[in-house]
Every structure is written in C-alpha cells, then in structure tokens.
Symmetry: C2
Subunit: 246 residues, 2 copies
C-alpha cells in the first residue's frame, strides 16, 4: 500500500469535459484511479479540496463520489475520507463505449463470447425444456423469414438469449445478455450495415440450425462445437481473426 497521495498534488486541472459536471468529475477521478495515479488504499482529496481545485459545488463532488462508489472504485468513511479500494477485482465487469472502438478490442470481446456461448450451448443442450426448444425453433424460423438485416439481427439475438436462458443459470443469462448487446452496438459502430447479406444468409441459417438440432437432441458436445464454429466464423466474416490480441 503506497502512502496516501499528498493533497494538492493531483493534476486535477479544470472541469472541461462533456456532460454534466458530476459526470465529468467522476470520470476525471476514475481516470486518476485507473491510470495508477491513485492506487488502492490511497485517500482522495477531501471534498473541500476538490471543491476548491475543480471550482464546483460540494453537491457535484458528492454526486461524483457516489458514482465512483457504485462503480466499485472507492469507499467513503464518515469522518475519515474516501479511499480507493482494490477495484480491479471489485469493480463490476463492464464494457465502456470507448473501449470497443478498435477491431482488436472487438475481436477480444468476441473471443470471450465464443467461450461463453459455447459453454451455454452445451448447458442448454443438457437442460432445455420443450418450451425453450420451441422458442429457439421460432427464432430460427424468424431468421429464415427475415426481410431485412434488422429483423435477421433481432431474431439472431433472441436465439442467443434463448440459449442462455435454457442454461437455467442466471449468471450465464446476465453475462450473455450484456456481451451480446455491447458486441452488436460495437459492430454497428465499426462496420457498415451490409447492403446485401444473401451471400451469407444461408450459411448463417445452416449454422443456427446445427446448433438448434444439437440442443434439441440434448447433445451437449455437438452443441458446443457447433456454437464455437458459428461464432468463430462470425469473427472471420468480420475479418477479425488476426486482431484478437495485441
């Protein structure tokens, strides 16, 4: 544990970023924590100091600190101060918008998704009930009938979420939902919407059907392999195979 940062020595500058002041202060302080200027155990400057240095009201400072607390960066102790915690293992797993702008970030994220959803497919094969199978079947049918990329994408998302649900494991569901959402947002930002997808449409359908069939049959290993193959090919189609690690 390093000695507490001396008050007044933090490079706080002025608040000059976008968004509301409390947002800005929270982001500024988070940056100091994430770049190692403030390390676990360090005490943040007092509220009074921050008010003076940042030229904002105490309410703004307090709201910023409330945010940092919720984000798992700090803990506040009345009468003592606000301290940086061991956030690297306590901060909820989150994907920040700016983090996924580069192809290698997206590739790394999809790589994680490959593992997660392969496992989900295997569990779903073991645990799905008839209703869940019917839902997955419906998703694949909707994909087959989709008239545009958006409908296709929505049915695709529902398929993947349906599989996570069929695992009967809430953590899989939560994480899968979160990853799926962010990956789709990132893809939409990085890649032009395909004007035609007919070239890959049949391939996509075949891949989804293979996954569905394995799940229906209760064949965990085949479901796992089919999902892995499907998602690995997503990566190839996005030309990401060589970008997953720096």
């Amino acid at each position: 544990m390093s000695p507490p940062a001396a008050e007044g020595t933090l490079n706080l500058g002025s608040v000059n970023q976008r968004g509301h002041l409390a947002d800005q202060v929270a982001r500024q302080l988070a940056a100091l924590i994430q770049d190692g200027t403030l390390t676990p155990g360090d005490k943040l400057p007092t509220e009074a100091r921050l008010v003076e240095d940042l030229k904002v009201s105490r309410s703004v400072v307090r709201e910023a600190i409330a945010r940092l607390q919720s984000e798992g960066f700090v803990e506040s102790h009345q009468g003592k101060g606000v301290f940086v915690v061991d956030w690297s293992s306590r901060r909820p797993f989150r994907l920040d918008g700016e983090q996924i702008s580069a192809p290698d970030d997206l590739a790394a994220l999809i790589e994680l998704r490959v593992e997660l959803e392969s496992g989900a497919a295997a569990l779903a094969a073991s645990r799905r009930d008839d209703k869940e199978c019917a839902y997955l079947r419906d998703c694949v049918e909707r994909m087959a009938k989709a008239g545009d990329a958006a409908s296709m994408s929505e049915a695709d998302l529902d398929f993947h979420i349906g599989i996570a649900k069929a695992t009967h494991n809430a953590y899989y569901q939560d994480l899968s939902r979160y990853l799926n959402r962010h990956i789709r947002v990132a893809i939409a930002q990085c890649y032009r919407p395909p004007t035609h997808y007919s070239g890959t449409r049949q391939v996509l359908l075949d891949e989804h059907r293979a996954i569905l069939t394995a799940i229906e049959r209760g064949d965990a290993d085949t479901a796992r392999s089919a999902m892995r193959m499907h998602l690995s090919r997503v990566m190839e189609r996005l030309s990401l195979s060589e970008s997953a690690h720096a």
Copy 2:
C-alpha cells in the same frame, strides 16, 4: 413500453434499512426496478415527490439517483425526468453479495467459471511468453511450499490470474479477476476453512501441474481439458455438483 407508473402509487414506504440514506434510497429504487414494478421506459417519481414520500433531503435523492445511473438502471434528462433504461442488457455484470449465499448460487457461478477458465487456459497455451510461464511455475512452487491454507489459496489465486493474463485478452483478465474474487469470498462465507487440506493437497498440486505443463507445451486442447477437470473437481470437493441449477 408500459405507460409510466402513476406518481404516488409506488410503494415507497419509509427509509428503514441499514447504511447511509443515499445507499438505502438507491437500493429501494433498484428493488422496484428489478422486481418489475418499474419497467424500461417508466419515469421515476420526481425528486420533489421522492423527497416528500421518503422524508429525506433532495441531496439524498440526487445521490441515490447518481448511483442508479452509474449502476446502469436509469438515465436522467434535465427538465424531463429520470427514466428506467433497458438495464438488463446495459447494467454491468455484477455479483451482489447476497446473491451468492446459497450453494446453488455458488455452484452456478463456478459453472460459469469452469467455462471461462477452460477457455483462458487454452488461449494462454497459445499465447504465453517465457516470463508468464515462469510466473505460473513460481505460483505452483509456492503452492507446493505453502505452510497454511491462506498461502495456498493466495498462490492458487495468483496462478489463475496469471493464466488470464497470459491470454493477452483484457476482457478475460477483468472477468476472471472479478469472478475469482467473488467466488473466494463466497466460499469463505459458506464453508468452514479446512483444518487440514493435506488429503487434497497432492491432488490439487497434480492438477495445477498438469495445467501448467500443457500451457508450457503450448497444447491448448490439453490445457483446456486439464483446467476443466480441475475446476469440476473443485465443485465436487465443495459438494456442489448437484446444485448448479434450480
């Protein structure tokens, strides 16, 4: 999108829970969001209404809402109100303390960890460098020399974090670190510290060495299998095998 909840009809009761008021209000509102009383698109009661109903100051309400924003539950729009977002896919993946108190919760979480760390081991086998191998070797040696359960556990944790690092994928590292921490905290809460672990110590060492050897050899498939076997056995040792899904 359901019509906004009518103001005044929320069962807000009084603030009577532990912790600071802003914490309590945030938790209370989060519960309303998570139990479906407030659904995505719904507008929260105004600050003035909350102040009146909860009999707290406006600062407390604002700090609570700041927390909910950071937690991914709501967005606030000046002049309009505070609205519940589609939080189920936008809220960072988090593990709340109370969530992991039952064996079936812990089993579900370990089940997720099995997939994640199996994948990590495979990637680490493909990507590790000599320095990372040396670090893993050191961890296993520390485990072999550990004089008590705490030292063993610490070396074990470092081994797993070292593997996640060797994936060269930041998402794996973040998620692995987060899962490992929470699983250890949950195990410590649910299970008595083993007074003797000599019965399983050799087995544990052998399992870790098998993983290490596969990683050193760059054998992704064997590393994956060895890690899967190791963690599945952790579940068995904790008598969790039959608890992973309800």
